[in-house]
């Protein structure tokens, strides 16, 4: 077990290394002076020169990568010329809203999608099943910002139930915090619900065809117990997998949702950095998000051991 975790941990290194090379080469493989691009449009010659020296641009490219990677590993992501502070510090400041939004979204999505998927598989081919599949195609197709405006218009403007936009820190009280977060989380969770419900339905459907389900029913177990303890438990691994894969969609959604709802998180930071062409920040955010994605999927792989006792590494 510990061997497996260690092995799986080591296997993320090549992926992260490739990510690092890609992020690094983002600037180096483009025509133009990397130091000038890094410094931003408003920089003067002296600033560019300082950055050039800092990046080691007079060194061979492999050495440049080494210098850069060495700093990144130590947590030094460079300095944002636009926000005038270290990129690592910037990311730390913007982490709370994004983390809160993502956590609430995943929680809501799983709580809604799994029961829906089980119910659809239980009544396979019925009206509920077809309605859910229809909803899921819609969920994949309605862009997150269109949905966001639809919800703002309906819930905030017409009904006046929730604030239109903005963010309150958890430290300022739980109620304002959750009131500002609930609409963005609903917006973001729709595509996630579509994804998880689809996979839950497919895997539960497959499990329901197994002999042990017939046995469980034959020995007179209540239908609820058959569905949850026997069918759903056996469908847990694919569901966990899709939750992990969905994190990529979630990160993309965060960028858009935070912009619409004016939430000062990492997604908003990404857009601001791009608009300001603040490349140290862009690189830092991409590295950070990719590491989160890889780590979440690592954790999910490890969780298989608990979800499926047959899996022994």
């Amino acid at each position: 077990m510990y061997n497996f975790i260690l092995k799986r941990l080591l296997s993320t290194i090549p992926v992260l290394l490739v990510v690092a090379v890609l992020v690094f080469s983002l600037l180096r493989l483009t025509p133009g002076d990397p130091a000038a691009i890094m410094a931003g449009d408003a920089a003067n010659a002296e600033q560019i020169e300082r950055i050039r020296a800092g990046l080691g641009l007079d060194q061979p490219i492999v050495l440049q990568f080494g210098i850069w990677l060495g700093r990144v590993v130590k947590g030094d992501l460079g300095e944002s010329f636009y926000f005038r502070i270290g990129v690592a510090e910037l990311i730390r400041q913007r982490l709370e809203p994004t983390f809160a939004l993502a956590a609430l979204t995943i929680l809501m999505a799983v709580l809604v999608a799994v029961p829906l998927g089980v119910a659809a598989a239980w009544r396979f081919g019925g009206w509920f099943d077809r309605a859910l599949m229809g909803f899921s195609v819609m969920g994949f197709s309605v862009p997150v910002f269109v949905l966001a405006y639809l919800l703002i218009w309906l819930v905030s403007l017409k009904l006046g139930w929730l604030p239109v936009q903005g963010y309150r820190r958890l430290a300022d009280g739980f109620l304002p915090f959750i009131r500002h977060l609930i609409l963005p989380a609903i917006t973001l969770s729709v595509i996630y619900i579509a994804l998880i419900a689809r996979v839950t339905r497919a895997s539960v459907l497959e499990a329901l065809g197994e002999d042990y389900i017939r046995t469980a029913r034959a020995k007179g177990l209540p239908e609820m117990r058959v569905l949850v303890r026997h069918a759903l438990a056996n469908a847990a691994v694919p569901i966990a997998t899709v939750i992990g894969i969905g994190v990529a969609i979630l990160i993309g959604g965060v960028v858009v949702t935070e912009s619409v709802y004016a939430i000062p998180g990492l997604g908003r930071l990404t857009v601001d950095a791009v608009l300001a062409r603040d490349f140290p920040t862009i690189q830092g955010v991409i590295l950070f998000f990719s590491c989160v994605y890889v780590l979440v999927n690592l954790l999910i792989d490890v969780s298989y051991v608990f979800l499926d006792p047959r899996i022994r590494y």
């Binding site: 090549p14 992926v15 992260l16 290394l17 490739v18 990510v19 090379v21 890609l22 992020v23 983002l26 600037l27 483009t30 691009i37 195609v137 819609m138 994949f140 197709s141 309605v142 862009p143 997150v144 910002f145 269109v146 405006y149 639809l150 703002i152 218009w153 403007l157 239109v164 689809r198 996979v199 497919a202 990529a248 969609i249 990160i251 993309g252 960028v255 858009v256 912009s259 619409v260 990404t270 857009v271 791009v274 608009l275 062409r277 490349f279 862009i282 955010v285 991409i286 998000f289 990719s290 994605y293 890889v294």
Partner: protein, 286 residues
């Protein structure tokens, strides 16, 4: 044909066909130049009449079916012309992703020495969320039609490459490939004449989904203000300009939003239909 008997293919295909025709025939559908503005026709509600001033300085009466924006531009004309951008970007990005994905996938699936290194690079690209890659590339290259297409296509290449590689790995074990190898057929010929034709059906399905995703992503880039220049009417740009006045004039956001959603929905439904008829193995999986 089996494909055309499928209702998802019929509905999605028909909706898409209508959209293509509308986009192509935009100048003849009662539109005006989508960049024309008139200070007298600002912020009109849908259906209100106003006027637009042509480039020659001539003022013509015009009914603003979908209202106007804060510059007095006709939303209806902008939405119709915006369809052109969405469709061009969606289809081109799918083709670019397909082209590079097929090349890389065939190479990885058929040439054993390339498999490891190529697939590790693909894994790395897939570890970065697609929107972030696209945003970063657009920021770097500055947004024009070709750069936006490539920025959207690049994160999609690994998906195609993985698919082709997996197919190639199983097809290369087929007796006819073995026979071709025994006859001394060059590797390139085996890849393109023996393996590739057997990948067409799943690739077509994948291309449809890529197209839907590309249309979405283009709109997102425009909406965030990092995509195509605001002078070009794209659905994302119209929404980005409309969002400022969303509370008072929601139509600026809703009309392009509905067009965008329906288009992506049509492409996705078409993809589901193609998958069910062309690629039953994949249909069973999800």
């Amino acid at each position: 044909m089996k494909v055309l008997a499928n209702w998802s293919v019929r509905i999605g295909g028909a909706a898409l066909l209508v959209l293509v025709l509308v986009a192509a025939a935009a100048p003849w559908l009662g539109t005006v130049d989508p960049t024309l503005f008139d200070a007298a026709s600002r912020d009109l509600r849908p259906g209100e009449a106003g006027e637009v001033t042509t480039l020659e300085g001539e003022t013509i009466r015009h009914v603003f079916l979908m209202g106007s924006d804060s510059f007095g531009r006709d939303i209806y004309s902008r939405v119709l012309y915006g369809a052109r951008v969405s469709l061009v970007v969606g289809i081109s990005a799918a083709l670019v992703a397909l082209f590079f994905g097929v090349l890389l996938g065939l190479a990885a699936g058929y040439v054993r020495a390339l498999d490891g290194p190529l697939m590790r690079v693909m894994d790395g690209i897939m570890a970065i969320p697609a929107i972030l890659i696209a945003i970063a590339l657009v920021a770097l290259w500055r947004a024009t039609l070709p750069t936006v297409i490539f920025a959207i296509a690049i994160p999609e290449i690994p998906r195609v490459a993985r698919l082709v590689r997996a197919l190639a790995l199983s097809i290369r074990e087929e007796p006819y490939v073995e026979a071709a190898v025994a006859l001394g057929t060059p590797a390139a010929r085996i890849m393109f004449s023996h393996i590739l034709p057997n990948c067409v059906a799943p690739l077509l399905v994948q291309a449809t989904y890529t197209c839907a995703f590309a249309i979405l992503l283009e709109a997102i880039l425009s909406f965030l203000g990092v995509g195509l220049s605001p002078d070009i009417p794209t659905w994302g740009n119209i929404m980005a300009e409309g969002r400022v006045q969303f509370v008072a004039y929601p139509h600026n956001v809703f009309f392009p939003g509905v067009f965008l959603a329906v288009t992506v929905l049509a492409v996705n439904i078409l993809g589901d239909g193609l998958r069910d008829t062309l690629d039953p193995k994949m249909a069973k999986r999800v």
